[in-house]
Symmetry: C2
Subunit: 178 residues, 2 copies
């Protein structure tokens, strides 16, 4: 998950910006001192899956990249332009785990306020037990519910999605991660 | 809803960017020709409510701004950094309609692929019938189900959220608006 450096220059003309409140607004925005272009910054969506085998085991990936290299995560990443939420979640599952899935219902929708993200996890059924870890994963494996490495999970949203899945995901979990 | 112009200059150093595929990536990104900074572009969330009075009438706002000035919409707008989905939806409802609400369940989650947006609508219960249209609204009023101005709605996502609300919103509507 890439960082978002403070905006210093205008994306349209390249001149310096200043953070100020535009006339018709109530928040400071990066505003170009030369051409007046306003560059907005808004939360981003991270989309992923909770891939479950027919025997109830859950797929996790061990991260090959920072942050949290070496810790376990669900396949997930930033939603891209040109795709739906489900397509993004399927793409990340293919890229990070090489897993074949049938997409299921959305089970967790988490506002991660301190990093300006919204995390969305779909339940997915694994159609095969053959995986192919991508460059972002050191390892991909299945965990029975009793084996989940709770102390070695990369992100709190992954923990919440897994807890909700193991509780049977009776309804969509909508929650704030402060 | 503001447009997103093509990125021409680097937000870090102001020099020109070129769209190219970074080494560890598979999509073209705006990459600085001088400092190498990569500026990502991703879908944005639009959050809003379907405010319903106790007699079943639904609140709509007539847009005072482009696009679709003069047409009717649900209170909604871009989610901001530092807020949850629900806080964003409540803020937009206050800003555009001056309405007091109790937030209800999420009823529609719509991937609007062609504009790179995800629209999320929460059901809301109106706590008062006193409104205060903000600068983005020409007018705010309640419509009985039979009175909804279907031919004068601003956006297809508004239509889908309203149709789902009037069908009783039996479950979360997850859909793609192509």
């Amino acid at each position: 998950m890439y960082p978002r450096p403070r905006i210093l220059h205008c994306t349209v003309c390249g001149q310096p910006v200043r953070y100020r409140v535009p006339a018709d607004d109530n928040r400071e925005r990066a505003t170009c001192t030369a051409c007046g272009h306003i560059q907005y910054e808004n939360p981003l969506n991270v989309v992923g899956t909770v891939p479950v085998a027919d025997d109830g085991r859950v797929l996790l990936c061990r991260r090959a990249i920072e942050p949290r290299r070496g810790l376990w995560t669900l396949p997930a990443g930033f939603m891209e332009l040109g795709e739906t939420l489900e397509q993004g979640a399927a793409r990340e599952t293919a890229e990070e785990a090489g897993a074949q899935i049938a997409m299921g219902p959305l089970i967790a929708l988490l506002s991660v306020v301190h990093v300006g993200q919204v995390h969305l996890f779909f339940q997915a059924r694994l159609l095969s037990l053959a995986f192919d870890p991508g460059p972002e994963s050191l390892e991909v494996r299945l965990f029975a519910p009793a084996e989940i490495p709770w102390d070695e999970l990369a992100f709190r949203t992954v923990r919440r999605a897994l807890e909700h899945q193991l509780a049977g995901a009776p309804q969509l979990l909508i929650e704030t991660i402060a």
